[in-house]
Symmetry: C2
Subunit: 109 residues, 2 copies
Amino acid sequence: MIETRLGDFEEVILLLVGILGEEAYALKIADEFENQTQRSVSIGAVHSTLTRLEGKGFLESEMGSATSERGGRRKRIFTITAYGKKVLQNAKDFKVALWQQFPALSTEK
Amino acid sequence: MIETRLGDFEEVILLLVGILGEEAYALKIADEFENQTQRSVSIGAVHSTLTRLEGKGFLESEMGSATSERGGRRKRIFTITAYGKKVLQNAKDFKVALWQQFPALSTEK
DNA sequence: ATATTTCCTTCTAAATTGTAGAACATATTT
DNA sequence: AAATATGTTCTACAATTTAGAAGGAAATAT
């Protein structure tokens, strides 16, 4: 049984890591967040959240090798763990179940 | 456009108010939370969240009249506002959109 | 009648999450 | 070498989440 809590922002970041796949590193994630949300995030917010998610075992990370793009620093690439997926699935199932009980919400978009 | 943030726990509580209708008061909400989640909540957690949600305009409340049940104190009954519904709908649409982009999550339960 | 029990809210305090941005590192272009 | 671009790490503070003690009032028991 899954016990660990998953914050609101944490969930979105975790999901974005899943969505971005190979390209899941902090700056990119922040970009993607702004694209999808129309809301701005600070890079610090994303980094600290990624670190926390890794601490909880939902994510793993490793430094990528330097690319030949303009900027230099190596990226830290994040990957979602099996446990992380399980937590996401759980959060989803729970939400869906609740929504079904509240008819005021339009069933599908 | 909806700007106000909605925390994870806040969203669940808001939803439960919607689901419970006339019966939406703190203690009952806490019960329902435990039923649906298999997780325990403190009553304080629920109360402070309800207060915050009301402050944000997602909920309204009024004291109910005393019933003839054993316990005495009057209940504070909460109702979800139109704005609150809109926020829930938004949160839902956003989540659904993200999930669709991450195929690892099973589409439907 | 008064004490006890039950149902409920208000208050106080602390841990965890969420948020911002400065400081730092390193590669490419000029 | 200096400037510029891409990234991470570190430091701090605000907001949310969480727990539980302290009150309050009606119904039942004594």
